[in-house]
Amino acid sequence: MADSVPKPSSSVKLVLLGEAAVGKSSLVLRFVNNDFQENKEPTIGAAFLTQKCNLPTRTIKFEIWDTAGQERFASLAPMYYRNAQAALVVYDLTKPTSLIKAKHWVAELQRQASPGIVIALVGNKLDLTSDSTGTAEDDGESSAAADSGDSGDARKVSTEEAKTYAEEESLLFFETSAKTGHNVREVFTAIANAIPETSLKSARGPGAGAGGVGAGRNNEEQQRVNLGGPRDPNAKEGCAC
């Protein structure tokens, strides 16, 4: 993945919001370290992490604020989303109240955050539902089937309900599993792609762009990603991070 030619790179400030224990830190841990911890302890305050995302034409450096979901930290949230260009609002699809909380965050972001902010709604813990094969290989299609027949299905929020809401509010929408890694990288890639080029302040001069990225990752471009809203859903690029 040695990119001999420097690509334009830009920083994107991203904030994660959502009820306690929905898996915000786990999603970040999966994205940044490709790791998962079964009994992750609650975040205290907020954690700041960075991770680069190589797109074919540019490099996005995510500056991630993983906030604590506990109620008592809620008053600090504006500090983290104030200048954010992207937000990942997470709920636990086995816990309906967490979707209600997520809707509150979306409303607050739409009211208070910067106008152009890209918001993704993420239903996490897909591995606990029966419609998940539980593997990272599983593609995005299966999440569209919201049937919950089998016993052992812990799903409490149907894909339809969340997806409809996401479309109404022009949000990106994904169902993920931080545990298996399913759809996690796709969320961040979709966000990277959805950030309008104009809002990126380039850190480096223009470089020779296309095609140089690790070919193995490029097949992700073919993957179906549920992109809602007005942003161009065709401008997908592989994220090789």
Binding site: M1, A20, S25, L29, V32, N33, N34, Q37, K40, E41, P42, T43, I44, G45, A46, A47, F48, L49, T50, Q51, K52, N54, T59, I64, D66, A68, Q70, E71, R72, F73, L76, M79, C241
Partner: protein
């Protein structure tokens, strides 16, 4: 050996025994023994406290100024003998101790009255003597002629160390630590185990709960359970209710209950406004020790909520369920509680441990740290493997050990921050600094920051105890990026001048080893506290005291020694106690406190010599072992 046992150890009750039925049978009269600590009557067993048993033929205690107790333990109480040989302080005796003042690190001692409590005018003179005199104190002329002394001497060549007793002569039943290795195991959930084949009943779970040697509970004065270390609240709700009823009964009678004993468990209660804190211990800690542990739990709650917020919550609704506002801090309370149960020298001594570094190296680090200081900074700390490396602070603000204990617990004992990777921005209240408001703490581990383009290469991560953290505390909640910038500069600077590697190596080198400090001293372990610096040093726990039970056994001895020395009416300056498992020695002067432990039949003389070597070492190494001064701005 057997002869000596005949004489000295009449019964089989070890000093760790639970049998302290005070007052059931009056202990035999003891000659020339100063009033023991007040703790004795509270049910906590002291080293050398008389336990109920049959009298024995004691070693001629007058001769050697050692008292034998019926349980087989013996203690040396430096009463007449000590004063008799007290002499004026030779000039410059304290010259090696650069910092008897508070200015140093700016740490304020845990109990501000500690000094006055334990230093009496009468006993001041002998303790002012320069180190090196302990041997003459406890093994002076007086003793050398005695038959018993000679007998002891002859044994000293063959001293099984304290730690060997663990496997050879004792099983943990004797030490009251049976099952301690399971102390921290979770009590299984009903739901989880029902799905498995061997379903567990509530009785089983209660039995597991009752088998724990240490419990902590927090409840509101209205009776709402808030937190308990073991057992989910549904399991133990009724017990909480009983506790609440008992406490309220005494509250109602305007005669607050401080503690009581039931069987071999000691209950200690701390009431703080609307909150009741209860510790239940079968580990033979003193009431004062348990109370200070409860106080630390209270501080943790204040650190989460601040005092005005806590008061507010209960002023509006006395029946509030505090679990909600404290949600997510359960693991902090638990890890704090567990470090007490394991035995935490820093908590026992109310002092901090520093990383041993050369004075010039520490100086270099302090200077770099000071030079790169952000305007927003209140306190800056570098911590490696849980030991303090460097501190910078404003002249007018000191750092309190109890606040640092909360920070260390959050960073090193519980997983919330450490496991996350990245940098952290944590609002917290440091109650000893100011219990009314929040500060903001920037935390970053020097190796742990992720800044990778590539997926992280799986290089061996350093074990948590080796991790180096930088902690920058500011009153300004918006100062994250400034402090982050400061951190980056400090890292660059320390990397460039090589001190980061020095810190890393010093951390890896671990704690000092007795074999280096006092070769051949036959001492198994020691704690040395520099009182003026409010810091301590201890010898390595490896290899003998690393497993849970062995470590607790050692720490229990220290707790008993400490309690004997710090009881309210205790004016002991030197205590030498011998039990079936161990001989221990405590020595307190205005400058230091030394606690050491050796095998049971080490002679007092040999032990005293070893202690002297440790004191001399600490004096020699003082400026490396302790942060003296620190960076002040």
């Amino acid at each position: 050996m057997d002869e000596r046992r005949e004489a000295g150890t009449g019964s089989n009750v070890s000093i760790n025994s639970n049998k302290t039925n005070d007052g059931a049978t009056p202990p035999p009269p003891l000659p020339r023994r100063p009033k023991p600590t007040s703790e004795a009557s509270s049910g906590a067993l002291q080293v050398g406290a008389p336990a109920q048993s049959k009298p024995t033929t004691a070693v001629s205690s007058i001769d050697i100024a050692t008292l034998s107790f019926p349980d087989g333990s013996r203690g040396t109480f430096p009463t007449t003998a000590m004063r008799a040989i007290s002499t004026p302080v030779p000039g410059g005796a304290r010259s090696g101790y650069a910092t008897p003042n508070r200015e140093g690190l700016g740490l304020s001692p845990m109990g501000s009255n500690e000094l006055s409590d334990s230093v009496s005018v009468m006993s001041f003179a002998p303790t002012m003597r320069p180190p090196g005199d302990l041997a003459s104190l406890v093994a002076g002329e007086l003793n050398k002629k005695s038959r018993a002394w000679n007998l002891l001497r002859s044994q000293s060549a063959n001293v099984p160390p304290f730690e060997s007793a663990r496997t050879e002569t004792l099983n943990n039943n004797d030490t009251g630590l049976a099952g301690f290795e399971r102390e921290f195991d979770d009590i299984p959930d009903l739901t989880v185990s029902q799905s498995g084949e061997g379903s567990i009943t509530d009785e089983d779970r209660l039995a597991l709960w009752k088998a724990k040697m240490k419990h902590y509970m927090i409840l509101s004065s209205a009776g709402k359970p808030i937190w308990s270390r073991h057992g989910d609240l549904s399991l133990i709700n009724s017990y909480m209710g009983v506790v609440q009823t008992i406490i309220s009964f005494y509250e109602g009678a305007k005669d607050p209950l401080l503690g009581f004993t039931a069987g071999n468990a000691r209950f200690v209660i701390l009431t703080e406004g609307p909150l009741y804190f209860v510790a239940i211990s079968r580990l033979e800690e003193s009431d004062a020790q348990l109370r200070s542990q409860l106080d630390a739990l209270y501080m943790q709650i204040l650190s989460t909520l601040t005092l005005p917020a806590l008061r507010n919550i209960f002023a509006h609704r006395p029946s509030t369920d505090l679990r909600k506002p404290l949600e997510g801090t359960e693991s902090l309370l638990s890890s704090l509680a567990d470090s007490f149960t394991k035995g935490l020298p820093s908590a026992l001594l109310g002092a901090l441990e520093c990383l041993k570094l050369r004075k010039s190296q520490r100086h270099t680090i302090n200077n770099a740290f000071l030079k790169l200081r952000s305007d927003k900074l209140l306190y800056g700390l570098i911590v490696a493997g849980g030991k303090l490396v460097s501190v910078i602070r404003p002249r007018k603000h000191s750092l309190h050990p109890s606040d640092l204990q909360l920070i260390f617990n959050m960073l090193f004992e519980s997983g919330g921050i450490k496991s996350g990777g990245g940098e952290n921005w944590v609002p917290l209240c440091l109650p000893a600094f100011n219990n009314r408001g929040y500060l903001y703490m920037y935390v970053s581990f020097f190796d742990g920051r992720t800044d990778s383009t590539e997926p992280p290469q799986q290089e061996s991560p350093s074990p948590p105890e080796d991790e180096i953290a930088i902690i920058l505390i500011s009153p300004d909640k918006e100062s994250f990026y400034e402090l982050k910038e400061m951190r980056d500069k400090v890292e660059t600077c320390l990397t460039k001048n090589g001190t980061l590697d020095i810190i890393r190596n010093a951390t890896r080198a671990g704690r000092p080893k007795i074999s280096d400090i006092a070769p051949g001293a036959q001492i198994s372990h020691f704690l040395y506290k520099s009182r003026a610096n409010v810091q301590f040093s201890m010898s390595a726990l490896e290899p003998s005291f690393t497993d849970l039970t062995a470590r607790r056994r050692l720490m229990s001895l220290y707790h008993q020694l400490h309690a004997s020395m710090h009881g309210r009416h205790s004016h002991l300056k030197v205590l030498h106690a011998v039990g079936r498992e161990a001989a221990s020695l405590a020595w307190i002067t205005p400058i230091f406190e030394l606690y050491c432990v050796a095998g049971p039949n080490i002679s007092r003389g040999v032990m005293a010599q070893g202690a002297n070597k440790i004191i001399q070492w600490a004096k020699r190494e003082e400026e490396r072992l302790f942060i003296i001064g620190g960076g002040v701005f």
